[in-house]
């Protein structure tokens, strides 16, 4: 597609449940990023993929968060045992090469944990 696609656009889940958030980057973009944006804050880095591998996962807050990109295209962010504090907008971005010379962001998935 023309842009970065994220699904679902909204997700409401109960505390303790498992969720998966999907990102479909721009075709041909090798770099893919996940960010989290809490209310009133700027986006906060979670993880960066170059191809299939996670080149930098230093932003993942704890081991309940995990992300994969098995074929170097679509990525899935997985959150286990969700907590109310996980409620945020999860943003995905992609870029043609490394070093983030201007990402293209998706519209995000708004996750609400009740």
């Amino acid at each position: 597609g023309a842009g970065v696609s994220q699904t679902p656009s909204n997700k409401v889940t109960e505390k303790g449940k498992y969720v998966e958030l999907r990102c479909d980057p721009i075709s041909g973009h090798t770099a893919l990023y996940w960010y989290r944006q809490s209310l009133g804050q700027g986006p906060e880095f979670l993880i960066y993929f170059q191809g299939t591998g996670a080149a930098d996962d230093s932003g993942l807050p704890n081991d309940r968060f995990f992300a994969v990109r098995p074929e170097g295209s679509v990525s899935t962010l997985k959150i286990q045992r969700t907590e109310r504090g996980d409620s945020a907008v999860y943003l995905c971005a992609s870029s043609l090469g490394a070093y983030g010379e201007g990402y293209t962001f998706g519209s995000g998935t708004r996750l609400t944990v009740v």
């Binding site: 842009g3 970065v4 770099a31 990023y33 960010y35 009133g40 804050q41 700027g42 986006p43 906060e44 880095f45 960066y48 170059q50 080149a55 930098d56 230093s58 932003g59 943003l91 971005a93 490394a98 070093y99 983030g100 010379e101 201007g102 990402y103 962001f105 998706g106 519209s107 995000g108």
Partner: protein, 113 residues
């Protein structure tokens, strides 16, 4: 730790007024700087970026920003705002050629006709 500060949280202007949004970063090494804009209901879009060279950077829609190394600043400016500039503006920095951006908390701009 590296950080980006945007001190103006909410700015209200009338059309045709001039705009300057502050951005300061805390890092003494190599830094690349960005301004992103998020219009209501839309995704984040790149306005402009600075990597090297001329410290005065021109972006889309008449925006510009000036990198002042001695002040650790990268303020965004526009001489005459329009109602359509109503949006949230985020300053971001990339340090030491890493692959992640550090964002400020954003400035909400409201422009009234």
């Amino acid at each position: 730790a590296q950080s980006v500060s945007q001190h103006n949280h909410h700015v209200i202007l009338s059309e045709a007024a001039s705009l300057e949004l502050g951005c300061n970063y805390s890092y003494g090494g190599t830094v690349n700087l960005f301004w992103y804009v998020q219009y209501p209901g839309q995704h984040l879009q790149l306005l402009l970026k600075y990597f090297s060279g001329d410290p005065l950077v021109k972006g889309i829609k008449g925006f510009e920003a000036e990198f002042i190394k001695s002040k650790f600043s990268f303020n965004l400016r526009k001489p005459s705002v329009q109602w359509s500039d109503t949006a949230e503006y985020f300053c971001a920095a990339r340090v030491d050629n890493t692959d992640k951006l550090i964002f400020g908390t954003g400035t909400r701009l409201q422009v009234f006709p």
